[in-house]
């Protein structure tokens, strides 16, 4: 009998505690989680290491330096310049995302070739994954509810569950199921879908660490949607503010690029 009374007290207390919480719209949640993933105010750079695993065994490795700046504060979209560092055969090659346009530049041939965001960079990581993207710009978000999921460190975390649909064809994915930690607005997990509805990849955000004044994820674990033995780890480090001019981020700058 005592248990039933306790249960009733719990039940009655639930709506009261919810009522005390601030409610957020889907856009506010995604915008807040974007601000955790990406520095918002100034151009910045970071080092990205990609490690590909097959069946838990390390299979391939790549290292990049990514420079990102917003096209304008109004549009909120980023343009990014990606410099290949490793493997040594790719050292010096560049990839540019200028608005919705992606270019690949090889200093050996001096050729700039336009590429698609869906083209694979390494492992489960496509070109669209290494360039900086704020989801709230590219996707229409809908809040589905609250869900408790395991985060990248296998801790059960209470999350906002969102569904994000691409606003137009320029987005890398057609749909994303997205989980954001309710207490901290940290991105926890994402499921990324193609236009056909096929699950392309599942991502876990983890390794939160202070970078440019905000606790940001320094690891993203990406699991292939088809073959779950294929896992790619993205490791972010060495965040720096870089006050480079916006005009860097266009095709004709690529031959002038010098790492700073």
């Amino acid at each position: 009998m005592r248990a039933v009374i306790i249960l009733l007290i719990v039940m009655l207390s639930l709506p009261a505690s919810y009522a005390a919480e601030k409610t957020y719209t889907a856009v506010e949640i995604v915008t807040a989680s974007d601000a955790i993933r990406n520095p918002q105010e100034r151009p910045f750079s970071l080092n990205v290491q990609l490690i590909e695993y097959k069946g838990g065994v390390k299979d391939d490795e790549m290292e990049l330096l990514v420079y990102a700046a917003k096209e304008s504060q109004k549009s909120g979209r980023y343009s990014s310049l990606v410099r290949f560092i490793k493997p040594v055969r790719d050292d010096g090659k560049l990839m540019l995302k200028d608005g919705n346009i992606l270019w690949f530049y090889d200093p050996a041939s001096k050729a700039s070739v336009r590429i698609s965001p869906e083209q694979r960079m390494m492992g489960q990581v496509s070109n669209g994954d290494v360039v900086t993207v704020d989801f709230h710009n590219d996707y229409e978000a809908h809040l589905d509810g609250i869900e408790t999921v395991a985060d990248g460190d296998k801790r059960m975390t209470e999350c906002y569950r969102l569904t994000m649909k691409a606003k137009d064809d320029s987005a890398t994915y057609d749909k994303i199921d997205y989980w954001v930690a309710k207490q901290t607005m940290r991105p926890v997990k994402g499921k990324f879908y193609a236009q056909s509805g096929r699950l392309l990849k599942i991502a876990f955000y983890r390794g939160y660490r202070q970078e440019l004044a905000v606790e940001r994820p320094t690891e993203v674990i990406i699991i292939d949607g088809l073959n779950k033995d294929y896992v790619t780890k993205m490791i972010f480090s060495d965040y720096k503010y870089r006050d480079f001019p916006r005009m860097w981020l266009q095709k004709d700058y690529l031959p002038h690029f010098k790492p700073e």
């Binding site: 700039s112 569950r161 599942i202 780890k233 266009q250």
Partner: protein, 461 residues
């Protein structure tokens, strides 16, 4: 009982808030058990950047008897190359850029050492977005893959003795000595370049590949002016307008590319040249008397076009399909005449009295072919081009590429298939098969080199 009821009700309540245990547990077990750590950070504050590789390529040529003479085709040829690219920051504003390749060719019969001073120039940053470059610079233009009508500085720049592989030619061509100024804006850029005449023309065809110091006669035998305006204000389309003037003959070009979907890029490259046609240019530059009709030395508009589509149908596979039109090239009638001339020349050579005439005619046909090759322009007007690249085939270390060019007059074709095997991040082992196929008098079927088998090893330092 009451406790059980309470647990069941609580469980039901929690279930309405949807807990995704099983799915997550499964996935998380796949995550490699390593603790988050800082990625090794590459130091980027060095005042120089150096990239060097050494490559050895052994090729076996499949030679056949043809009516039309061709260049030197070796049965066996070994090429050892040392390629170096460096840029040195003298100050925050000034840098020196060097690109050089030394090739040692050994056919078993003779050995030659070729040095290509590809680039040597000073780059000066006047202010953010304003640059002045002076020296030998490889200026590349064009959005297409197989044929670039707006790549004005390609003419005579490639070293065809090194390889006939288009990708190798692209990586191994001479820059032109120019003074280049470039201004970048928020939404575009403006480029101006002037190439002065610095040397006498280096025998355009017969001796084009001779190795003199810096080979300036190949790149700077005439005065050239280049300008381009690139615009980036459109959301998806990237237009670039180009202007080029070579010793009074003007060209205007356009490059456009747009994404049709997440995995499809469409593009077009156009150039309008006010120049003589290919027959007349070859005749004028080589002093060759022409027996083929249709030479037009007037500076008339010659359209050149390369529309194409790039598709990534599945992960790791990229394909490019292009149509190539060279309005300066041979028409179908001229091409038929070219083919018939080969047969006729063979007949003339059968008689001592007419041997000389037949030989001269074959020389003419050979010259035309070599001229188009040196200019890197299609010999005829209509071609189809296809290239496919498939990365990580079976194993992550294996990449395959295939390339085909088809002459739409005679349906002869050139096909090249390459398999590259990556050993770690610094070494690449490759096998290439090339084939020129078609009728006996067709463009590719009449090539003396029927095909090649090449194996190469490249190591990056």
């Amino acid at each position: 009982m009451a406790r059980l009821l309470a647990i069941l009700i609580l469980a039901a309540l929690l279930a309405t808030r949807s807990v995704a245990f099983a799915d997550d547990e499964d996935l998380l077990n796949l995550i490699p058990e390593t603790s988050p750590q800082s990625a090794p950070v590459q130091s980027t504050d060095r005042p120089y950047h150096l990239k060097t590789f050494i490559e050895d390529e052994l090729q076996y040529g499949l030679v056949r008897d043809t009516r039309i003479p061709d260049g030197d085709i070796y049965k066996w040829l070994n090429r050892l190359s040392l390629d170096l690219r460096a840029d040195l920051a003298v100050s925050p504003e000034l840098s020196i850029n060097i690109s050089n390749r030394i090739n040692l060719l050994n056919s078993g019969i003779n050995t030659s050492l070729l040095n290509d001073y590809k680039e040597f120039y000073a780059a000066y940053k006047i202010s953010d977005g304003v640059y002045l470059d002076a020296g030998r610079i490889n200026i590349r233009n064009g959005t297409a893959v197989g044929y670039n009508p707006t790549d004005y500085f390609k003419v005579f720049a490639a070293n065809n003795r090194i390889s006939d592989d288009p990708s190798v030619l692209m990586d191994n061509r001479l820059g032109t000595v120019v003074l280049r100024a470039q201004a970048l804006f928020e939404k575009g850029s403006l480029t101006l370049a002037y190439a002065p005449p610095l040397a006498n023309p280096q025998g355009a065809v017969w001796t084009a590949q001779e190795n003199s110091f810096a080979n300036l006669g190949r790149t700077n035998s005439r005065s050239r002016l280049f300008a381009s305006l690139a615009m980036t204000f459109l959301k998806n389309i990237n237009p670039e307008i180009l202007f080029y003037n070579e010793a009074g003959a003007a060209s205007a070009g356009l490059n456009l590319s747009a994404a049709a979907s997440e995995s499809v890029i469409v593009y077009v490259e156009y150039n309008g040249r006010f120049a003589p046609n290919l027959l007349a240019e070859a005749a004028k530059s080589t002093g060759m008397p022409l027996s083929l009709s249709g030479s037009d030395s007037g500076n008339r508009l010659r359209n050149q076009l390369a529309p194409g589509v790039s598709i990534s149908p599945i992960k790791d596979v990229n394909t490019w399909i292009e149509y190539h039109y060279n309005g300066s090239g041979l028409t179908r009638g001229q091409w038929t005449q070219w083919s018939n001339s080969a047969a006729y020349a063979q007949t003339l050579m059968g008689s001592p009295a007419t041997h000389e005439a037949g030989n001269g005619m074959l020389g003419e046909l050979w010259t035309l072919r070599q001229w188009a090759l040196a200019e890197q322009e299609p010999l005829c007007r209509h071609y189809l081009f296809y290239r496919a690249a498939w990365q990580k085939v079976i194993t992550r270390a294996l990449d395959l590429t295939s390339m085909t060019a088809v002459n739409l007059y005679d349906w002869s074709y050139f096909i090249q298939n390459t398999a590259e095997y990556h050993i770690g991040g610094a070494a690449v082992l490759s096998l290439t098969l090339q084939l020129n196929q078609g009728g006996r008098s067709s463009e590719f079927g009449s090539a003396k080199g029927m095909g090649k088998i090449k194996t190469a090893f490249r190591y990056y330092f």
